[in-house]
Symmetry: C2
């Protein structure tokens, strides 16, 4: 819970009494490695703030292949925004890559916080805009860059994840096979590139 309160206080300036009321609305949950928080068809009722640990969200296509949408480690929020906001059935899985400690943020929480505090509204705006910017960059990379470039971009952007996440998941995030990623890494090693 400490990370979450720190995070929220840093991002939104909510007066203390209201803050205390709000904070009662969220719950903690511990999940084990491999445990699933959301499945396709379900409606995403909570956003998950990661206190400690590592989550991922991903789709599974009709040939059974996984495609990772997002990783979320400490101080990140993982969610299916569309499902949560529009009350639609999700088409994502969310599960835990490591034993994880999450804060459950309900839509109610967000709505109430928005009513109470214009500062929170602003924070929420920024979060949405950041999300859009991030997705934009990813689309652009997928359109224009080779596997190698995409991987380079990943490790500079998420050096921590590069170490914590198994390679086959990184490959999935990049839209390539684990074998291809292995080749790319070999190439990079040849070129005397060291990820450290």
């Amino acid at each position: 819970m400490q990370n979450f309160t720190k995070y929220l206080k840093a991002k939104a300036n909510i007066p203390e009494p209201e803050f205390q009321l709000l904070i009662k609305k969220v719950k903690l949950k511990n999940i084990e490695k491999g445990e699933t928080l959301l499945r396709p068809g379900e409606i995403c009722r909570h956003s998950f703030f990661v206190e400690k640990g590592l989550l991922r969200s991903y789709t599974v296509d009709n040939s059974g292949k996984e495609h990772i949408i997002q990783f979320g480690s400490e101080n990140w929020i993982v969610s299916d925004r569309s499902s949560a906001f529009f009350n639609e059935p999700s088409d994502l899985f969310i599960d835990a890559i490591e034993d994880t400690n999450v804060v459950l943020i309900s839509s109610d929480f967000i709505n109430e916080a928005s009513e109470i505090s214009s500062s929170f509204r602003h924070f929420n705006q920024i979060a949405l805009q950041n999300h859009i910017r991030h997705q934009q960059k990813r689309i652009n990379l997928l359109l224009s860059a080779s596997a190698e470039t995409r991987y380079m971009n990943f490790i500079t952007l998420y050096p921590d994840l590069t170490l914590r996440v198994p390679q086959w998941m990184i490959a999935s995030y990049l839209g390539i096979t684990p074998e291809s990623l292995s080749r790319v890494r070999k190439e990079l090693a040849h070129k005397n590139f060291r990820p450290n």
Copy 2:
């Protein structure tokens, strides 16, 4: 201007006097086919509501290739949201595919409308969430689907654009070469698929 006022009234319930004040804030602009509205390095000062015509936004990679991010025909808004919101230099081009009539929406307009009307705030929220959902789907397609599938998806999603936009631009949007798209279309024709 008619489309824009109709659009805004339908989306946000702003009391008439305030609406009249707001509407004075926007300007009209006519641009010719090929004319450019935004270049990389510039800050995106306006969102462009398309009254009539057709815009596109795109990046150019370091080998000179264009990658189309978005098309916008009547009643669509084209913009670089990140640049506009965060006041950062854009890395997009925006230009006109046809002679086009746009409404210039400044950040001021959006801020003022947000202050005046909670209904407008809500509309804006929905617009952002829709944007996220749309990008999410596109990322998922780029990660998981073949050129053929991506094209099929495009023509069912945007049958109008399929007719108005030159094929090489559609190819660019899909992340393939015009030659590949041509072959994909041939394949589909063989399979007795008719886009009509």
